[in-house]
Amino acid sequence: MTVQVLSPLFEGGAVAQLAFAPRREFVADDKLHLLVVENGKPKAKQLLGFLAEEIQRRLPVATIEVHSKPSAGRPIDADLVKMFAARSHLVISGLGD
């Protein structure tokens, strides 16, 4: 004997794949703006700052901006994300512990 049961799972399907931002070649006289978003956890700022300096040694990065999230557990405000995207050429963000 069979019984019909209803699925308790989410059925909305996978999130649509997003396109990457357009890629470009770097040239020697570029003045790139590198944004570092650290999540507020211990040593995140140091780790990502080290990565940013390494990138600056290898690419024409003119300025580095560090944004410290007030809470690792909450996302950055959507308007802030738009502003960051408008003024940055490269972004490094850190997740996890």
Partner: protein, 432 residues
């Protein structure tokens, strides 16, 4: 409409385990009929949206909540409490996206305060945090199954708990209303005494607090302060919330000494502050330059509880040798806050109830008509009936059973037809 699967009844448990619908324990097959009955328990339509986790682009419908409540073993009358718990879970201040994901391994602890808890048989006394009560266990389990099945909060997906704890299966208790002038949690949070509320907190496991010999209220509270400021607890010195469950003897000591609940909270918030040096003595290093660096403070100590309003004090548990509990939250208020939502009970649908009342009247009146009498029935208030005996002649007055006897007979039928939560009065012309 949720996807429907046809499964072999004799193999239903194994099939549901194979589909990863469970929390590791057997579940009740969510048939269409069971899900519809669950929805009716809260008077909800299947497609009603209860809330969302925006970061996951997932909107929870009442139907999906009901399916998981059936899986958990809930009765339909528990569903209004489950719904309130889920609405609380999905309130942005609770930050479910992170609370259900963090390595800290938080439970979704539900505190139910109000008369509906007793009406559905929830436990608020002996073994209040332990097993054995269907309502407590399955309401908490339903909320966790929604988190796992619908929002992906399970190991291997989006639950990153390093250790976790047994409360992640189910952690739900009812408050035992305190003696006056102390107010129950719902009233302290601004709701009416008659209402029932669900407060959700993302918590670590409970710490049992033992103090069996000290009759001094200050001594009892210092023991609680020691539990709150235990350096091994993640939130100590990081401004968080917390839940104190005052057991019978401890509540009695404090109440008889005329401590108000506000004074208790003030004392515990102050005494649970801790210095960086004290933390270091136990090997714990305070954060420097990161999100939980609160800088220098006036007394050189760090707050374990963010403010007097961030410590919840309730009474629950049975009499014993002097046991209570403290339940720390999983993260500082920077990331997550408790949320309280009132339980909304379904409005009784007039048509089916009137049909049931009419059937009840016919059933009861048929016995009276053979004695020359009749019966009128009115619904005079929600879940309250008035029966009026009609006895046309004095001759038949003695044939009809006295109202004291009728009360017993009517009571049995009212409970069978309408439910045990209905009451009634009998108007008997022989007694006027």
């Amino acid at each position: 409409m949720a996807e429907v699967f046809e499964i072999d009844e004799s193999d239903a448990q194994e099939e549901m385990f194979a589909r990863n619908w469970t929390d590791g324990l057997p579940v009740v097959p969510p048939t269409k009929q069971r899900v519809e009955e669950m929805l009716s328990g809260a008077g909800l339509k299947p497609d009603e949206v209860l809330g969302e986790i925006r970061e996951r682009s997932r909107y929870l419908t009442a139907e999906k909540a009901a399916i998981n409540a059936v899986l958990a073993g809930c009765k339909p009358e528990y569903f209004p409490v489950v719904v309130a718990g889920l609405r609380a879970l999905l309130t942005p201040a609770f930050n479910a996206h992170t609370a259900l994901t963090s390595t800290g391994g938080a439970a979704s602890c539900l505190v139910v305060s109000g008369p509906y808890a007793e009406r559905i048989g929830m436990r608020s006394r002996l073994n209040v945090l332990g097993p054995g009560n269907r309502a407590n266990m399955t309401i908490g389990r339903a909320v966790r199954l929604v988190a796992a099945n619908f929002f992906g909060a399970r190991t291997g997906e989006m639950d990153g708990s390093s250790i976790g704890h047994p409360g992640k299966l189910s952690m739900c208790l009812a408050e035992y209303d305190p003696p006056a002038p102390w107010e129950p949690l719902r009233v302290e949070l601004g709701f009416s005494l008659e209402s029932t509320t669900v407060t959700i907190m993302a918590t670590e496991g409970p710490r049992q607090v033992a103090n069996h010999l000290n009759p001094d209220p200050r001594g009892v509270l210092l023991t609680f302060a020691a539990a709150i400021r235990n350096p091994a607890t993640y939130c100590v010195g990081k401004a968080s919330q917390g839940l104190v469950i005052l057991g019978h003897e401890h509540a009695q000591i404090l109440h008889e000494a005329s401590w108000s609940k506000h004074q208790i909270r003030e004392f515990l918030v102050k005494e649970s502050r801790i210095s960086k040096d004290e933390l270091a003595e136990w090997g714990v290093l305070a954060e420097k330059g990161s999100q939980h660096d609160f800088g220098p403070t006036a007394d050189g100590r760090l707050p374990s509880i963010a403010s007097v309003d961030d410590l919840f004090v309730i009474t629950a548990g049975g009499a014993g040798a002097g046991w209570s509990a403290y339940i720390p939250v999983w993260a500082p208020t920077l990331h997550n806050r408790s949320v309280t939502v009132p339980v909304e009970l379904p409005v009784v649908d007039a048509a089916p109830i009137s049909a049931k009342v009419a059937r009840l009247r016919e059933l009861l009146a048929s016995g009276l008509r053979s004695d020359g009498a009749d019966l009128l029935v009115e619904v005079v208030a929600p879940r309250n009936l008035r029966f009026t005996l009609v006895i046309p002649t004095a001759a038949c007055a003695e044939c009809v059973m006295p109202s004291k006897v009728l009360r017993t007979v009517f009571g049995r039928h009212v409970e069978a037809e309408l439910g045990s939560d209905w009451s009634f009065t009998i108007v008997d012309p022989r007694e006027t």
